[in-house]
Symmetry: C2
Subunit: 616 residues, 2 copies
């Protein structure tokens, strides 16, 4: 379809259908859909290459609605493409329908969930990066953005990275309808303000009237011809275009129309045009990377090794075992040790600089195409991307994260680098796995398993070199725990630690043994899922006395996951939670562990008090 009149009709159909979809539940964003309808009419009928019957065709283009609230438009496009029926369109926002309020990958043609503004474009950067550098296929990524979301810094991280990586397979379309939720945007219809910013960041920018089909057509044509840089089409549009009651009016954001029937009539009535969306021209197969195989690294029991180093070693080995493993890092690869992977597999490593939102978005985008990304930075800085991780769970994403340098035990750098909230925040992510290894051999085994875990897996690593306590042949399952020390039936108390605190717990147990107190020590390396059975066994065997110790705030971490393991148990142990309760400072690791009350001495003291109280 290449004709203005046809496009006009199709645009009107998309508007009508957006209004109809929203009318039934009286909710949704028809006006934000209507502004971009003409842009989508041209895109879907002339430029998009997408085989709706084969959503997994690796050559399909990708259409990402960064302005996810314009879902009525997206679903109307699906109807016009013949991918869904009119009946299904009209289930919009109803319970049980996959036509949700904001798009999610429950719909097979949706790559990722959107609805938190400013995320679609950075994710599109990840998909485009996969296209250019991993899949090496000619698909294009089309990303429909709102003007309001241009205020999100994450959009500019995307602009920066897309230009840096010369992603000429990426086209952003900004629907400048001027009106945000509660009033005018910062820049209104000043298209130039957006275009100038984009150009300064290295993009080609084309300013058009988003309701002029010739201009739209020319802009997309220019976008696909542009080499070496991404293109943004900055389109002046009218919110609610075509319906006098709402067109370019304030206070119509996120509302169904009051008089949908009149509006539909004003737009020329219901249409049922079906567009034969072009199939991909290429039938290429995605590039595959050689995976000659490798052994996971091993570490000598009794030596000292940092789990962060083991992460890097293991990831590099994993890259040789599996060609689908890729890595991104936030400009700290010499600290996280992702640099070992980078040096071994430079084609599968992407430097994301200090832009953690873009880093996680890139991981989400890369996994859209079936790659398994590992994203790493200091654990504390992953908090920068928390909204992206939250949304990634709604996207049913599968990728792994590693946060290094967690806890007060990092020492001199001080609290800004400590990540005392990561276990809490990442436990509270749907589908997440949270691992906190205590030893280098264990780390290697767990890293290898992360690549097979569905959902979002997170590993917390430790800065310091800690004793290697497990042999290289020991196996560790996600969801398990390990009894590291026990006197079998003679234990008085269970101490639960992980990572740095496991070693403090072992020291405490050793010193308590000299006083005749037998402590069972559990390595809770799998914080989520947690080993409920193992914990319950230990509690039963140790008189219902548990001390938990964590290099983390008291909320939401190891202590509370242990408590949850017993919440509805018949026997519920007494749990003394040791955690960081005061704001730490700089100092030597040992000084800070002591000041936080989570070192061996404090653990021993807590045990003495607990056992004494019970024994007495």
């Amino acid at each position: 379809m290449t004709d203005g009149d046809d496009w006009r009709e199709l645009g009107q159909q998309l508007r009508v259908d957006s209004i109809r979809a929203a009318a039934l539940t009286k909710s949704g964003h028809p006006t934000s859909s209507m502004s971009a309808a003409d842009l989508l009419a041209v895109l879907m009928s002339k430029y998009l290459h997408f085989d709706f019957s084969m959503p997994d065709n690796p050559n399909n283009d990708h259409l990402i609605f960064s302005k996810g609230h314009a879902s009525p438009l997206l679903y109307s496009v699906y109807k016009a493409a013949g991918a869904i029926t009119d009946e299904e369109l009209l289930t919009f926002r109803k319970f049980g329908s996959r036509m949700e309020g904001h798009p999610t990958p429950e719909i097979p043609w949706v790559d990722v969930a959107t609805g938190s503004l400013g995320q679609g474009l950075p994710i599109a950067v990840g998909v485009a990066l996969a296209g250019k550098q991993l899949d090496r296929l000619p698909y294009r990524v089309w990303c429909v953005c709102g003007d309001s979301e241009m205020a999100e810094g994450s959009m500019w991280e995307a602009f920066e990275h897309a230009a840096f990586y010369e992603l000429d397979n990426l086209t952003a379309i900004i629907d400048v309808n001027r009106l945000g939720q509660r009033g005018e945007t910062m820049h209104g219809w000043d298209l130039n303000s957006y275009a100038n910013r984009a150009r300064a960041f290295g993009w080609k920018a084309i300013e058009i009237d988003g309701h002029d089909f010739d201009e739209i057509d020319r802009a997309f044509a220019e976008a696909i011809e542009t080499r070496g840089q991404p293109t943004v089409v900055v389109a002046r549009t009218l919110k609610g275009k075509g319906v006098k009651e709402v067109e370019n009016q304030l206070n119509w954001h996120g509302k169904a129309l009051d008089h949908p029937d009149e509006a539909i009539e004003e737009l020329g009535g219901i249409r049922n045009i079906v567009v034969d969306v072009a199939k991909p021209e290429s039938d290429g197969r995605p590039h595959e990377f050689d995976a000659p195989g490798a052994d996971l690294p091993t570490y000598e029991v009794g030596s000292d090794a940092a789990t962060r180093k083991a992460y890097g070693d293991a990831l590099a080995a994993l890259g040789s075992i599996r060609g689908d493993v890729v890595a991104v890092d936030g400009e700290v690869s010499n600290s996280t040790f992702a640099e070992i992977f980078r040096d071994a597999h430079p084609d599968r490593y992407f430097e994301m600089y200090i832009a953690e939102q873009q880093m996680i978005a890139a991981a989400v985008g890369l996994q859209v195409r079936g790659w398994h990304p590992f994203a790493s930075t200091f654990a504390c800085f992953l908090s920068r991307a928390y909204d992206f991780v939250r949304m990634a769970a709604i996207s049913r994403s599968t990728f792994s994260m590693c946060g290094s340098h967690a806890g007060v035990s990092i020492g001199e750098d001080g609290p800004s680098q400590m990540a005392l909230e990561d276990l809490a925040s990442f436990r509270a992510v749907h589908s997440s796995t949270v691992l906190y290894p205590s030893d280098a051999n264990q780390t290697a085994k767990l890293v290898a398993q992360m690549a097979d875990l569905p959902g979002i897996s997170y590993m917390r690593t430790t800065r310091a070199a800690t004793p290697v306590i497990y042999g290289p042949d020991e196996e560790f399952s996600v969801g398990g725990s390990r009894v590291v020390r026990s006197s079998d039936d003679d234990d008085d108390v269970t101490i639960v630690g992980a990572g740095i605190t496991l070693h403090e717990a072992l020291k405490a147990a050793e010193s308590l043994a000299g006083e005749g107190i037998n402590a069972r020590v559990i390595d809770l390396y799998s914080v989520k899922p947690v080993d409920v059975e193992g914990l319950r066994e230990a509690a039963e065997a140790t008189g219902g006395r548990i001390v938990t110790v964590e290099d983390h705030w008291p909320e939401g971490g190891i202590g509370e996951t242990v408590l949850s393991a017993f919440a509805d148990a018949e026997e519920r142990p007494l749990v003394v939670k040791l955690a960081v309760t005061e704001m730490p400072t700089s100092g030597k690791p040992a000084e800070l562990l002591a000041a936080a009350g989570i070192d061996a001495d404090h653990i021993a003291s807590a045990v003495r008090q607990l056992v004494g109280a019970r024994v007495a």
Copy 2:
């Protein structure tokens, strides 16, 4: 001091002292300090107006190190200003010293903690906004930025907002030393790439050689003369400048020098220049807003009212009661109801558009100057600013946040808008208070108290109008709870809910009463701190049987805070946790509460099973 030779000497002193500070603990970032030393020499001796003897002088300029890792330079400036002794400088990074690895407000001249890159500039925007629009004093804000952190989107949120609010009292200085932690930055010494971006965002940008004192001097002079727009000085510098071993060398990020004595000699030895930093020229008093007084809003018992509406009503009243209360919102003020405050107190309301990081940073900046900000958006989108909230705790900030539209009960918008992790993530913030009111009158009382709470307080509000159950004269203390329903000594079970689930709990209790099961219902409106005593009393009175119910993931929320209240209690109740365990969809609120298993029917069913199992 206005002479090139003097500046050169001072610059060398700042370098020498940065090296000396880092040499003792063999940690810190001397090379990132050395690059900016000449810039600071000119700034402190000619342009900065700061009374070090009166850190609270409202007319003091503000000097914010967005590149917080250059703390050796900042502390060397303090020594050169005579504010600290050489002895104290040399306690850098030692346990017990306020000269921490990254600056924190434990030092009286430090406004905010930095060390998570990309935060200093957005916070500086908040301080500058306070200067122009609230305090109405002529102080200036000087913000020293690194080039690596220009990759953070939050920096561009700051550029956007500073230009929009025409903050000509703000000067950013970018220390373009070319080298990040693990290699060259994206743009190296391409000053123009930074300057062009800044100009496109509406700033004046001046490119200079950051080691040429005349150029530095002229740039700062031009910055303070510029009206109507902020200025950025983009300075080409050498990392490790002045010491051959490290100057412009890779792999010297975050490392003390190997040969500090030789380096100090190369720089001309130790100096002890003391600069008489200019005092503020103004002795003006900060503007105060009229606070004629007002009554908090009240709602009729039995009517329906949304807690989010009560938040807006109460905040507007609070603004009339207290002149120090201000508000920022992320372009959703008609949803959070911050618009009621905006309409009542337009001079104290700042629209932050869809830029949640900048919104929280602005709140942090405004509270630096003693204002009490309330920051609001949908609860889910506060996750965008989680790293800012984390750092705000390290800044010992005092401000309030309100997250509206929390939980599956929002209905049709779907999971991207639901915030099922906010209680977990904000509980795990040091100093935080987490409130989740169940009723409009209660909301109003708690909003008023938030303005007096130290630290970071967070209120979760509900989209739907819910029954008003408390009289307008009832009092609610932070850290309390309320028994909403009880048969005194005859209760079989305790149900703990808050917000939307309290009303489901009440419905469940009503239906259970018909079956002869008496449920005590507790409103846990204060999630942190939690009412340990109240919960323990209830557990004791109800046979050690508790059902918790929350519109939140199972991790880190109401269930786990209840479990923590009993962790080391003598009697530990059996706790059945009801929470959202599967990814929600769109639907009607009642449908989604039912699907998540947290509506009245599911609560009643859980109670029956619990009581039956125990009674039987």
